[in-house]
Symmetry: C2
Subunit: 192 residues, 2 copies
DNA sequence: TACATTTATTAACTAAAGTGAACGAACTAT
DNA sequence: ATAGTTCGTTCACTTTAGTTAATAAATGTA
């Protein structure tokens, strides 16, 4: 199970057995049932998440309607804004599937950075990389039509379309469920 | 001039005079004329930028048309994706105004981190914060209509609308210049 | 199994954005 | 000053998304 984590990290640094052991001893791998709310609007939490298995999503409720903005699957991590700016959250986090997550608060992070300073370098590099990638995704979104965005998602994360209800994909693409349904129809007819 | 940098950093850590001196001695403050291309599509660069004064933007050229996706003004910083993933750039970076920038490559960063380890913590914290904020901006974009996005920009960065040509704002909002022109008209008529 | 709820599709209609072209105003450069 | 760009607006037209509502299909649950 923890192999997902170590595999992911091995792309950046090779951990010693000591380091691996220290991580496992923190005992921060937790199981959650599908539908579990990890964070609610208005709450303040100090937890960050790394997905070992399963899928979680962030969503807003605008005029009573859910707007899903991001999905996190295996080997992806989420540091909620409320953890960083210490303000109550604008959004919800919940489990799209039964999931196994690493859950770490600032105290745990400090502890690790203290024991293994290399981890701080790792985290800096990782978040710089995530930032640049997120910018690239945002750029893509801005410069594409809804249809292109759907095709793009189809290319880059095909499994996601199987794992997640379509109305959540729709708002992830900045659309209503009806529009996404139409786009899919248009594409399937056009392809024939 | 360097006050812009030190002011910004003071929100996160208080620098000693030694540290300030060390930064200034790197001699990485550079001047650029409006229109200067800092990075071109297809190029590979190891430079990151921090804006002391002025404005720079990133843009793509898609089917011969410029698509501006981000603006960076005073006290904002840009680490291009090509610096991080070592692949040639998909986009251009150029100066919207005469600008004074801090330009730093990986070697310079290493040097600083070596001398002042606190800087690595700072950079980790900063990029985590930027990542969370960028996600929030992206969420906003996805959940808003073009008109709301324009109004939102009007609120959050009113000066930008004065400093930057409107066709660049348009693609920044994911629109054609014609659509933005219409939105502005609609809003000005509605306001009367 | 049967019932209730959630999710996806379809349709008719409205509103808004994309497209291509034209025009004038503003800015540059010589 | 003037010639040449660049930029913003407007227009007519096409395409696509939003909205509201109805229905069908799939899923979950007693």
């Amino acid at each position: 199970m923890e192999q997902i984590l170590f595999n992911y990290l091995s792309k950046y640094i090779l951990l010693t057995d000591d380091e691996k052991k220290a991580i496992l001893e923190l005992d921060i791998f937790k199981q959650f049932k599908k539908g579990t709310q990890l964070l609610k609007e208005g709450e303040l939490s100090d937890n960050g998440y790394f997905v070992i298995k399963g899928c979680i999503r962030t969503f807003y409720i605008v005029d009573g309607v859910e707007k899903t903005t991001e999905f996190y699957t295996e080997a992806e991590s989420l540091e909620p804004l409320c953890k960083i700016n210490k303000k109550t959250s604008d959004y919800f986090i919940s489990c799209v599937e039964d999931s196994i997550l690493m859950v770490a608060d600032s105290e745990i992070e400090q502890e690790i950075f203290q024991k293994f300073p290399r981890f701080e370098t790792l985290c800096r590099v990782l978040s710089e990389e995530l930032l640049a990638k997120n910018k690239a995704d945002f750029d893509d979104f801005k410069t594409s039509s809804p249809e292109q965005r759907y095709l793009n998602l189809f290319q880059s994360r095909p499994q996601l379309l199987q794992r997640v209800p379509q109305y959540q994909i729709a708002s992830y693409l900045g659309l209503t469920p009806q529009s996404l349904s139409r786009i899919r129809k248009r594409l399937s007819v056009g392809a024939k």
